[in-house]
């Protein structure tokens, strides 16, 4: 469980997060929605303290990390897998080395054990043949899958997905959505998916939070999202693409 109280974050005079309060339940997938540029990536980075926290309180698994230094954050970060918006694979390393990285850095496992786990995860993301390739030789969707394998390898308690489907074609996007759901089912991790892709959100999410103007404007489950009377939420759904798939969700409700 991750709890956020009144998180604030500014860059110079630009206030991005103006007081985010949110509870992220254990073992479920929480989707944080919001338009591009509303501070979703910033929120994830502040929780990991890749960006400094200006104000507010962050409690991760019962530990108040609000005043933690960079070195105190290290063990906390190792419990959290992060899938970056840009995938952020190390482009001087092969896919195998990328996926193995957290184990090579933070554990004393034998090479055989590491290889076994890496290959198992590459199987899970359906890319076993890519092990010796460099990230430069992969498509955007393949990179996301490798990044997912890397985020999962250390068996984190939490996993953060930053726009996992943005910029992918619908078929690849639905593959990624499927993987997020399978990850949830097989590993039972507490997941946070940050996205502006409504279809992806409705596919993978258990709980939803909507950021508007630096604050949480709405929280609820799938039905509550679709039935929400909050104006910003309705506008957001009205703008969402592609309509046909979204309509199916609207019909189910």
């Amino acid at each position: 469980m991750i709890e956020l109280f009144n998180i604030k974050k500014s860059f110079g005079i630009q206030e991005v997060l103006k007081g985010i309060t949110l509870s992220i339940p254990k073992g479920k997938t929480t989707v944080v929605l919001g338009r591009s540029g509303c501070g979703k990536s910033v929120l994830l980075k502040v929780i990991l303290r890749l960006l400094p926290l200006d104000e507010g309180q962050i409690i991760i698994g019962g530990v108040d990390t609000s005043n933690f230094s960079d070195s105190e954050m290290m063990p906390i970060r190792r419990k959290i897998g992060m899938l970056f918006q840009s995938s952020a694979l190390f482009d001087s390393m092969t896919v195998w080395q990328n996926v193995a990285y957290p184990l090579l850095e933070n554990t004393k496992l034998s090479f055989d054990e590491i290889d076994k786990r890496v290959m198992a995860l590459l199987d899970f993301v359906e890319l076993p043949e890519a092990a010796e390739k460099l990230p430069g030789a992969l498509s955007g969707g393949m990179k996301k899958r490798v990044a997912l394998a890397r985020a999962l390898i250390a068996q984190p308690e939490y996993i953060f997905y930053d726009e996992p489907t943005t910029g992918l074609d619908p078929i690849t996007a639905s593959k990624i959505n499927l993987l997020i759901k399978r990850t949830q089912n097989e590993y039972g991790t507490t997941s946070v998916v940050v996205t502006h892709d409504m279809v992806s959100a409705l596919t993978v999410g258990d709980f939803f939070a909507f950021i508007h103007d630096g604050k949480i404007a709405f929280t609820g489950n799938r039905n509550e999202v679709l039935k929400s009377s909050a104006k910003e939420m309705q506008d957001f759904i009205a703008d969402a693409e592609p309509r046909e798939i979204l309509q199916e969700f609207l019909n189910i409700k």
């Binding site: 990991l48 970060r77 190792r78 992060m82 970056f84 952020a88 190390f90 990285y101 957290p102 850095e105």
Partner: protein, 254 residues
């Protein structure tokens, strides 16, 4: 104007705090020994051809130029003395520094800069690695060890180039040339010839790493960091050379 000045002081303070972080974590595990050796190879061994070429030809040119001039005063035979002192005290360290600033400094700033703008450094931190230790400390240690070595090799090859011209153009025998090279050298000259490249090595890699990991603004930002890194380290080498020389002259009483 005020904003730029403020930004300038912030980046100076970041520059020094990076140095402190490297020092603070120098002997803290993990030490990344393998990575340090890889960097020693990249910085030292791979710079060898260009350093060798530069210094060998500089030794030749220096001898050619000063040999003719010294002949006017009838001191042609002692060209080796002039060449060895200039190479060991000044040209070896400075030329090595400039070559490394161009080759390694630019490469390092570009590599770390692209890692920064593509979130690879964030990813490293997110996986519980300290990027300063893994990326900066390893390179700084490697640079501190390898640049002085390169400089010594540059001295040697420069003198070899000088010997070649002294013999071919001015008909000075290798034995005599060698005597005139070794004769004026003192421990202080050798000290100066080692301390300078040590400081240059630290300045080059430190600057490049600082520029790299503070890169913002996408690929254009990477280009800017790379350019600034080479310009700043070249200036630091040339200006620093003067101050280091002055300070060493006071301390060593030369």
């Amino acid at each position: 104007m005020f904003k730029e000045l403020r930004q300038f002081f912030i980046s100076i303070s970041d520059y020094f705090s990076l140095g402190l972080r490297v020092l603070g974590g120098l002997f803290v595990r993990p030490l990344y020994i393998n990575e340090t050796f890889n960097q020693m190879y990249a910085i030292g061994v791979q710079s060898l051809p260009i350093v060798a070429l530069t210094s060998f030809f500089t030794g030749m040119i220096l001898t050619l130029q000063s040999g003719h001039e010294m002949a006017v005063f009838g001191a042609k035979m002692y060209v080796g003395t002039l060449v060895s002192l200039s190479l060991i005290r000044e040209l070896g360290p400075v030329l090595t520094g400039l070559v490394v600033a161009g080759r390694v400094g630019a490469g390092t700033a570009a590599e770390l800069g692209s890692m920064k703008v593509t979130e690879q450094i964030d990813a490293m931190r997110a996986m519980g690695t300290d990027p300063v230790k893994k990326l900066v400390t390893t390179r700084l240690v490697a640079g501190t060890i390898m640049v002085p070595m390169l400089s010594v090799i540059a001295d040697g090859l420069g003198i070899l180039g000088a010997l070649f011209i002294a013999n071919a153009t001015f008909a000075i025998s290798p034995q005599f040339f060698w005597k005139t090279v070794m004769h004026p050298l003192t421990v202080n000259d050798i000290m100066m010839g080692l301390i300078k490249p040590l400081i240059f090595g630290i300045m080059i890699i430190w600057t490049a790493c600082h520029m790299g990991i503070t890169t913002t603004g996408g690929t254009a930002g990477v280009g800017k960091s790379t350019t600034v890194s080479v310009v700043v380290s070249s200036v630091l080498i040339l200006v620093g050379d003067y101050f280091i020389t002055q300070i060493l002259i006071w301390f060593l009483g030369m």
